[in-house]
Amino acid sequence: MKSDARKSDAKRTKGETLLEIRDLKISGQSDDVWHEIVKGVDLTLKRGEVLGLIGESGAGKSTIGLAAMGFARPGCKITGGSIIFDGKDLRKASEEERRALRGSRIAYVAQSAAASFNPAHRIIDQTVETAVGHDVLDRGKAEADAKDLYTRLKLPNPATIGSRYPHQVSGGQLQRAMTAMAMSCRPDLIIFDEPTTALDVTTQVDVLAAMRDIVEQFNTAAIYITHDLAVVAQMAHRIMVLRHGKLIEEAPTREMLKSPKEAYTKTLWAVRSLAMPERTGKDVVLRVHDVDATYGGIVKVLENVTVQVPRGRTVAVVGESGSGKSTLARVITGLLPPRKGEVYFNGKPLPRALKDRDKDTLRRIQMIYQSADTALNPRQRVRDVIGRPLEFYLGLKGQERDRKVVELLEQIELSEDLIDRLPGELSGGQKQRICIARALAADPELIICDEVTSALDQIVQEGILKLLLKLQKETNVSYLFITHDIATVRAIADEIVVMYQGRVVQQGLKTEVLSPPHPPYTELLLSSVPEMDPDWLTRLLEKRQAKGKVSA
């Protein structure tokens, strides 16, 4: 059946034109100045075709996706070009005419379903809102149809899940419910805007499969926006690579994957090509021994966890959200004293609670967080952000302190001109580098990196990972690297710890963990990582169906 769908690729790309965007120009406002953020993009979409838009943040993907609905976010305006949807120019249409199309003929699926569902209304009320509001169906029929869509999208308890509120269901389920919401009027076109980016890989597989399936069932055209080439390869018939608001390259999916032409397109593979050979280590810096941890004394989030980090090495902790990765970090740093077990540092047990640890112990363990945006005080200049630990831990003051700040900036490969910048005046990658410098300033023996590259673009990620490796070589610092991204693990880990529901399910050297045979959960996790092969998802689903899915 799947191969039939593939055969129809040719038919789809030759069908009737549904959307035609010509020379689209969009300006965005920042600090009262208008900048052109989309610089003359052409885009053609046939009925039933799925087009992938790919590029890093700031490439203008979402902006173009929204423009296909005749919509510009506040602070943006469409300044030129035409957007012809089914013969009608959306730029010339009145707001009322555009509103009539939105939801009914062009629908949108947003990145974060948790934020895009209104917390005040039940899921079913929001699912049927479009169909009822646009007078497509009456309330009763719309509800019956919504339940049918829930079933098709393989949501659990499709008859009753709609009566729940958004916060009562999981992220993956919400994302599927949002797809049902988009489908409620059987639109001609759906814009998928990074719909699986916020999901775990294991959840992503199911959501991707459900979305691909339903788009095929109703022969809906779609624009699939993502920064992940491997994901878009599963979904799209054709791919457009964008950068800085311009088209870089466009080709049918298979062709694009087999032979990308532009140098920029090739860099989108960047992190995946980075693979450091593993090293073993004998001298143990940190040993977490048989730790249990609970929140509020009731919910057990860690159970019998034992983890070792050798000096000068990187131990990656992988697992989906809720597996206890970040809780482990909280236990090590003393933010959450364990219920049972000990944390040994350089062979000596650490006081359980943060407040009982002396300054020198605190200095030796530092942390870097996922979101540099929230981890930096927006009103502190780089000089103070990095200077503060120098003063606090090492007692450096005045010129001595400034000299060391400049030295650290050099170490993280940033210009010393940035020393008086505020975080808001730095790029995402620069901010994360500042966070690294702040951790480094304390001259630590262990740095806990909590998803430090997850929020960054591929190419920036690569830079950060290389920097971390370089710093490790220079200072012999150890990393406990928490991540859900297997590509990152391949790139920098020496050892891997796989966690699932608060337990360690496997640990060992990188090659051991990554090569079969795997324990069931590791197998599920590793097999869920999308590969640069347009048939990957199809094959995976067939294989899982044959075997019966691992009971996760």
């Binding site: 929204l66 609905m69 919509f71 976010r73 506040p74 509103r99 009539a100 199309l101 939105r102 939801g103 009914s104 629908a107 949108y108 947003a110 974060s112 934020a115 895009s116 569902f117 209104n118 917390p119 005040a120 209304h121 809102e129 479009t130 509001g133 646009h134 729940r164 509120y165 916060h167 009562q168 919401m181």
Partner: protein, 322 residues
């Protein structure tokens, strides 16, 4: 037990504790006031004997703790004690003095709330819907103007134009208990209007700000991308998530209608509880002052409790736990 019910009971318990503390403060604050009330009331001509007799009559000779317990015990049974203006054979209970006044004040506050709250919410929603338009700016400027003038000034201006020149409404609002409803309403018109002008700005601006603060949320963008009309975006998608801050400001202003209306009452000679308290302070009628203070505290606590309950009840995370 349902978590909502549990929270409500918790808040109610906290309210009672607050009330107890407030009653202690009220009682002791008056206890610490300098001077002897009996002497002050009897005046210069008082002999030690008459002072003692008077103190005995009104119970001032007993120790403070006993008096506090008597006072609180009485209130719990609905007896607020006797006014100091009572004489042998002619007992005036505090309740007799306060009850009709409290009813008048609640009437005035109730009518004002019925006018002002919907008006403020409506204007706030419209201002949010047409934000930065001429309408938005005009309504903001107008409400800011009315709140910027002292209340008595607004009151006299209204009296000058609407009562003296146009003769639409009576200038004095001396309502009485046996007055028919509509006459009472007509007499109260000017104080209602004055108080409305005083409180509308605050509530309207909060409504506008609470709604606009939500308009950047992803779910609002989602609603727009679903083709929901601008009015429905505000009413169906923003407002249900904005009740908590709005309810708090409304509660604060309603409490003000009961507690702070004294200036307006004086200007329009409206026989409300504010005036009763001022009179009692002047004549050192301590039981009446205490009762008024306690009623004001209850008003604040109850209205804030109500606002808290509304905040909780409109938050589905609390109302429908996982």
């Amino acid at each position: 037990m349902h978590p909502l019910l549990r929270t409500v009971l918790q808040r109610l318990g906290l309210g009672l504790i607050t009330l107890f503390v407030v009653s202690l403060i009220i009682f002791s604050a008056i206890e610490f006031l300098p001077g002897d009330f009996a002497k002050a009331i009897l005046g210069q001509a008082a002999t030690p004997e008459t002072v003692e007799a008077f103190q005995k009559e009104i119970g001032l000779d007993k120790p403070p703790v006993e008096r506090y317990l008597n006072w609180i015990g009485g209130i719990l049974q609905g007896d607020f004690g006797s006014s100091f203006s009572s004489r042998v054979g002619f007992r005036r209970t505090v309740l007799d003095i306060i009850a009709p006044r409290l009813w008048n004040t609640l009437f005035l506050a109730g009518i004002t709330a019925l006018v002002a709250v919907p008006l403020a919410l409506g204007l706030g929603l419209m201002a949010a819907l047409y934000r930065n338009s001429f309408f938005d700016r005009a309504i903001n400027a107008a409400t800011l103007t009315t709140i910027s003038f002292p209340e008595f000034f607004v009151a006299y201006i209204l009296m000058l134009f609407l009562a003296v020149q146009l003769r639409w409404f009576p200038s004095l609002s001396n309502v009485s208990a046996d007055m028919p409803f509509f006459e009472r309403l007509e007499r109260s018109a000017l104080p209602v209007l004055t108080l409305t002008l005083v409180i509308v700005a605050h509530m309207m601006r909060m409504t506008r700000a609470a709604i606009i603060g939500l308009l950047a949320s992803p779910y609002i963008e989602m609603a727009r991308l679903k083709g929901v009309s601008p009015g429905q975006v505000i009413l169906r998608h923003a407002l249900p998530n904005a009740w908590a801050p709005i309810a708090n400001v409304v509660a604060f202003n309603l409490a003000y209608l009961v507690v702070g209306a004294v200036v307006v009452e004086v200007v329009f000679v409206y026989p409300g509880i504010g005036q009763a308290m001022v009179d009692a302070v002047r004549s050192r009628d301590i039981p009446v002052v205490q009762a008024c203070a306690l009623i004001f505290a209850v008003t604040y606590i109850l209205l804030n409790l109500l606002a808290d309950i509304i905040s909780i009840a409109t938050n589905p995370r609390l109302l429908h736990p996982r």
